[in-house]
Symmetry: C2
Subunit: 584 residues, 2 copies
C-alpha cells in the first residue's frame, strides 16, 4: 500500500492552486515497490494495466495503480446499438475492478500532474479532497474529449455518442419523440419530432444513424398514428463520401445501402449552430428536428494539454500547430522524458509504416498498451525495450439491419457477410465471459422479437438542492474547502469560530458566500440551532444567476465587501469580476 498525502481541497482548483496546496504538505517519498500509475479507464488505460499486471505475475516489487473517473470500462463500438435498444446498456460496460483485479483502482478525477514531486493530484471522495498519488512511471491514457465549442448551441442541444449516458439518453429521446408524435396534432411539430439528424459521417455517426433507423422502423408498429413516410433520417457529413477512414469504394457502398433504407445524405455540409428546434448548416440551410446527435468535435484532454505546456513535453504538430497530444518515440515513451509514457488517443506514436502517426482506434490502442507494458517493465528492470509494430487487421462499420461494410486483410466486403463478420469480431473483442454471453443473447432475441420501447424514467428531475439539518448538526466545517453557498430557508444556524459563537443567522440569510470568491478553507463552522432547511447552490449555478441579474451581482458584491474586506481588495476589477472569474 502506498502512502498518499491527504489535504482537504477541491476538484475545481486551478492546476496552479492545486500544485501550491499539495506542494505545501508533501510527505517524503517513502521506500517500497516501484509505482506505475496509469491514467485513464478507456481501451488504452485498461489494457495497459491489464498487461502490466499480467507480466508482473506474482512479483511484488512493482505496483500498478489505475486512476479513472468512472468505475467501469465502456466498450464504445457497441454504444450505437445500446442507443438503438439492441443491447442492454449494462452489457457493454465492465467494472474496471473486475477487468484488472490485480491492479489497484482509484475512482477519482485527475486535477493535475505535480511533475516536480512525481505525484498525480486527484480529487476523490464525497468532499472531493485533493490527494497526491505518487508514481515512478506514469502512463498517460487520457484519450480526447468532446468539444462543441465552435458550434453555438450544440453543447446545449445536441447529444454526443461517447459515453453510456449518451447512448442511454438517445434511446430515451427517440422513444419519447415517438410517444409525442403519436399524440401531436400540429403537422410541423410532428415532422420535427419524427426527424432524426446525425452529424458526422465517420464510424460513430454512420453506425448511429443506421441503428436509429432500425430502432424507429421496428418500433413503429406500436404507434398506430405515425406513418412510415412521416419519419426522416438525415446524416450530415462535411465531405462527398462517408466513412473517410475506409476505402472510398466502401464509403460509397455504405452510402447506397443507407440511402436505399431511407437515410438522406446531407453531404459537403457542416453544422454551424443548433437551437432547441433546429440544426443550422454553414450554407444557411436549417433542419427542424428534436433529435440531433453530433459525433464531430474532438479536443485534446485538458490535463494532457496542460501537462505538455507545464512540463516541457514534446507536443505533436500537424501543419505546424500543436494538437495537444504527447509525441512519443517508437518505444511509446514521451520524447525525451524517461518514466513518462503515452498510449492511445492522447499520444502521437510514430506509425510503424514510417509515415505519420498511428491512427486513434481501439485496435491500435490495445496493441500500444501491450508494447508499453513490456517497455515500462524493461525500463524498471534495465532490459531491452521493444519497438511498437502493428498493422491494422481490417476495418468494419455496421449499418444496422443485418448490413455492414468491411475491409479485412485487404478484402472488401459489404452487406450481410460483412455484418456477420462485424458481430463476430466485436463479440470476441468484448471483455468478460458473462458480458459476451449476455450480448450474444441480446442479439439472438433481437432477431426474433421486437425492440424494447420503454422510455426509462431513471432521471429524477433535478431542481435546486435543498438540504435538511437537525438541531446540533454541523453544516459547514472550519478548515473544509468550500465550493457551495447556502441560503437559510427555515430555522436558525450559528456561526462558530472554534467554540465561540460569532453570529446567528435566520431565514433569508446567506452563508458560505466566500466560496463564490475562491477555494480557500472555510474560516468558520456553521451549525444548526433548530431544524433547518437550506438551499444549496454550486458556484456554477450561482455564477449563472449573478452574472445575468445585475441586482444580485450588486447585492453580493456589497455583502462580500462587508464580510470579507481583505479578500475583495485583491480583486482589482468590478465586484462581479471577482465572483465570475475564480471558477475554472
Amino acid at each position: 500500500m502506498a502512502t498518499v498525502d491527504r489535504k482537504a481541497a477541491t476538484g475545481t482548483l486551478t492546476p496552479a492552486q492545486a500544485l501550491a496546496l499539495a506542494g505545501a504538505a508533501l510527505a517524503p517519498r517513502r521506500e517500497g515497490p516501484t509505482r506505475v500509475v496509469v491514467l485513464g479507464g478507456g481501451f488504452a488505460g485498461v489494457h495497459a494495466a491489464k498487461y502490466l499486471t499480467a507480466l508482473l505475475g506474482r512479483r511484488t516489487d512493482v505496483e500498478v495503480e489505475l486512476l479513472s473517473e468512472e468505475n467501469y470500462f465502456v466498450f464504445q463500438p457497441l454504444l450505437p446499438e445500446v442507443a438503438a435498444g439492441g443491447i442492454a446498456a449494462t452489457h457493454v460496460v465492465n467494472p474496471i475492478r473486475e477487468l484488472v483485479p490485480r491492479a489497484r483502482f482509484r475512482c477519482c478525477k485527475v486535477s493535475s500532474i505535480d511533475l516536480a514531486h512525481k505525484r498525480v493530484l486527484v480529487s476523490q471522495g464525497e468532499g472531493l479532497e485533493l490527494v497526491g498519488v505518487p508514481y515512478d512511471h506514469l502512463v498517460f491514457c487520457l484519450g480526447k474529449v468532446t468539444s462543441f465549442a465552435m458550434m453555438p448551441g450544440v453543447s446545449e442541444h445536441a447529444l454526443a455518442m461517447k459515453d453510456l449516458s449518451d447512448a442511454f439518453g438517445l434511446r430515451n429521446r427517440v422513444i419519447r419523440c415517438l410517444e409525442l408524435a403519436d399524440i401531436e396534432a400540429n403537422p410541423d411539430a410532428k415532422r420535427a419530432l419524427l426527424t432524426f439528424v446525425v452529424a458526422g459521417g465517420g464510424f460513430s455517426g454512420v453506425e448511429t444513424i443506421g441503428e436509429l433507423r432500425e430502432l424507429v422502423d421496428r418500433s413503429l408498429k406500436y404507434f398506430p398514428r405515425i406513418r412510415r413516410e412521416e419519419v426522416q433520417f438525415k446524416l450530415i457529413h462535411s465531405q462527398k463520401t462517408i466513412l473517410p477512414e475506409m476505402p472510398e469504394k466502401l464509403g460509397r457502398a455504405a452510402q447506397e445501402i443507407l440511402e436505399k433504407r431511407g437515410v438522406e445524405m446531407v453531404l459537403g455540409a457542416r453544422v454551424r449552430a443548433a437551437s432547441r428546434e433546429q440544426v443550422f448548416l454553414a450554407d444557411d440551410r436549417s433542419i427542424a428536428t428534436r433529435t440531433f446527435v453530433c459525433t464531430v468535435g474532438n479536443a485534446p484532454n485538458p490535463i494532457a494539454k496542460h501537462t505538455i505546456a507545464a512540463g516541457g513535453f514534446q507536443e505533436a504538430q500537424v501543419g505546424g500547430r500543436g494538437i495537444g497530444v504527447f509525441e512519443t518515440d517508437a518505444m511509446l515513451q514521451c520524447v525525451g522524458k524517461p518514466g513518462y509514457w503515452a498510449v492511445g488517443d492522447c499520444a502521437a506514436i510514430p506509425s510503424p509504416s514510417g509515415k505519420g502517426f498511428c491512427p486513434p482506434t481501439a485496435q491500435f490502442a490495445i496493441r500500444e498498451a501491450k508494447a508499453c507494458a513490456k517497455n515500462v517493465l524493461a525500463a524498471i528492470d534495465g532490459t531491452p525495450m521493444v519497438t511498437f509494430a502493428f498493422k491494422a487487421l481490417g476495418i468494419l462499420a455496421s449499418l444496422g439491419q443485418r448490413s455492414a461494410v468491411a475491409e479485412v486483410f485487404g478484402v472488401k466486403l459489404t452487406g450481410f457477410v460483412a455484418w456477420v463478420l462485424w458481430r463476430t469480431i466485436y463479440l470476441a473483442k468484448l471483455p468478460g465471459f458473462v458480458r459476451r454471453l449476455r450480448v450474444a443473447l441480446d442479439w439472438t432475441l433481437d432477431l426474433f422479437f421486437p425492440r424494447d420501447i420503454t422510455q426509462l424514467q431513471v432521471f429524477q428531475h433535478k431542481r435546486l438542492d435543498i438540504h435538511h439539518y437537525e438541531p446540533g448538526e454541523t453544516i459547514v466545517r472550519e478548515g473544509q474547502i468550500g465550493r457551495e453557498f447556502y441560503v437559510v430557508l427555515k430555522g436558525e444556524v450559528e456561526v462558530l469560530q472554534g467554540e465561540a459563537v460569532v453570529a446567528t443567522l435566520g431565514a433569508r440569510e446567506v452563508f458560505g458566500e466566500r466560496a463564490l470568491l475562491e477555494d480557500t478553507p472555510r474560516t468558520a463552522a456553521v451549525r444548526a440551532i433548530s431544524a433547518v432547511d437550506v438551499l444549496v447552490m454550486s458556484r456554477g449555478d450561482f455564477r449563472s444567476m449573478v452574472t445575468s441579474l445585475p441586482v444580485l451581482d450588486d447585492y453580493f458584491a456589497k455583502l462580500l465587501r462587508e464580510r470579507h474586506p481583505d479578500a475583495m481588495k485583491r480583486d482589482a476589477g468590478s465586484p462581479s469580476a471577482g465572483v465570475a472569474t475564480t471558477d475554472t
Copy 2:
C-alpha cells in the same frame, strides 16, 4: 379515433384553473363507439385494459384507452432485486403498448377530471398542452403516492423503493459508497459510508435490506480495503415483529434469518427526520449513514382525493376519517356513481370475507381488474354483473441469498424451499415471454457469477438550463401558456405584439416573468434578433430563489408592478406572495 379538445395550457394548473380553461373550449360530444378510459399504468390499470380488450375481441362499438405518465409498466415485486443488481433494470419493465396492443395508449399526466363534461383533462406533449379525453366509463386505477411530508428531510435525503428510478438510484448509490469507502481514511466517514439503513419492515423494506446485504457481501471481494465487519445493515420497523402482513411466526422466522446474516433489527422505532448525514428516530437515537431507503409513507393520489371531494364520491373511512380512496360496491362500481369504477390501491372494495376492504396487493388488483372489465362491459350491454370474490392464494417475502418466508394455501414455509417458490411464482407472474426469459437468465448467471459493480453514470449533472437561439427564431409564442422565465445572457431579442416590435431586450434583461404570476397565455412573442443565449428557469426554481433572497423578491415585485400593473392589483398581499403562491 376520438376527437380531443386541444388548448395550449400547462401541467401545473390548479384543477380549478384547468376546469375553467377546458370548459371554455369544449367541443360537443360526438357520436361513436362507447369510450372506456382507464387511468393508471400499474397492476390495476394495465390488467383492466388488458381484460377489457380481451373480452371485446373484434367488437368495434367499444373503445378502450389507457392513460399513464410512463410508457411502461413496472413489475414492482422485483424492484429490490434490480436495486441489488441481480436483475437488469430493463428486464422488470414492459412497454404498455406491447402489453395491451389493442387498447389505445396515451402517455400523459392527468390534471383533473371534468365530471360535468365527462372528460379527463390531461397535459401531454412537449408543451404540456391541456387536452380533454372524453369517456363514457371511467376506471380509476390511480394507486397511491409516496409521501414523506411528516418526516423533515426525508424527501430530500432518502431513497424510496417505488419506481425504476429508485431501484436504479439505490444500486448506484451503494456501489458509489463502496468506491468512496475504499479510499476513505477518516474512520467515522468510512463507517457512515458502510452503513445501510432501510425504514419499514413490510415486504418492500424486508426484501430491500435482504437484497442490499447480498449485493454488498458479494461485491466486497473487489474492494480490498473494506473489511466485512466494517459494514452495517439496519432495518427500522415500528412494531415488534417485521412483516405485519404475515402470520407472526413467519415474521419472527424472517427476523432470525436476517439477524443471522448480520442485519440489525431496530424495532419499535419510528423515523422522525433525516439529514444528509444521519437518520433520526423518534426516541432521539440517530444513525450516521449515507444510504437511507424509506419504504414507509403512503398518501392518497391527489387526483383521487380531489375527484372524491369535487364530485361527491363516497370516500372510504377508517376510524371515522376519510382515507382518500374511492369506496366501491362489490361490483367495483364507485358507490352511487354509475359509469365510474375503481380498482387497486385507490379503491376500497368490500372484502369477499365480509369484513373490511380488500388488501392493497398486486394479487388482488389483478383479480379486481378482471371482475371490473366484465362488469364495465355488462353495464354497457345491459347484462348482469358479477360480484367480486377472491381469496388470497398465499403470501411470500424474499430475504435474499436463497432464503424466503411464505404462507401458501395455509402452509408456512421458510428458507430455501420458500425462496424457490418465490422465484417460480414471480417469474410466472412477470408479463411477457422475452422478459421472463431474460430474468430467468439473470437469475441463472447470478448463481455462478459475481454481482455487477458498475456504478452507471447515466445521470448527466444538471445545472440551470441554457438555451441557444439563432437570429429569427421564436423563443416565446404569443398565446402559449408560459411556465418559464428567461434571462438574456448574450445577444438581443425583440418583443412582438402581432407584427409590431414593442421592445428590444439585451444581455441581463429578463422576459417571460409573467409566468411567475399565473398561468395565462403569453401576451407577446419574443424573437431572437442576433444569436442568443438565454438562461431558462422553471417557476419552481425561481420561487426557491425569490422566496429566499429578499433582494430578488424586491426586484421582481418592482418589475412586475411596472410591466403588469393589472395582474398585480388582483393580489392583495405583499409582492412576494404573488410570486410565491400561484404555483401548485
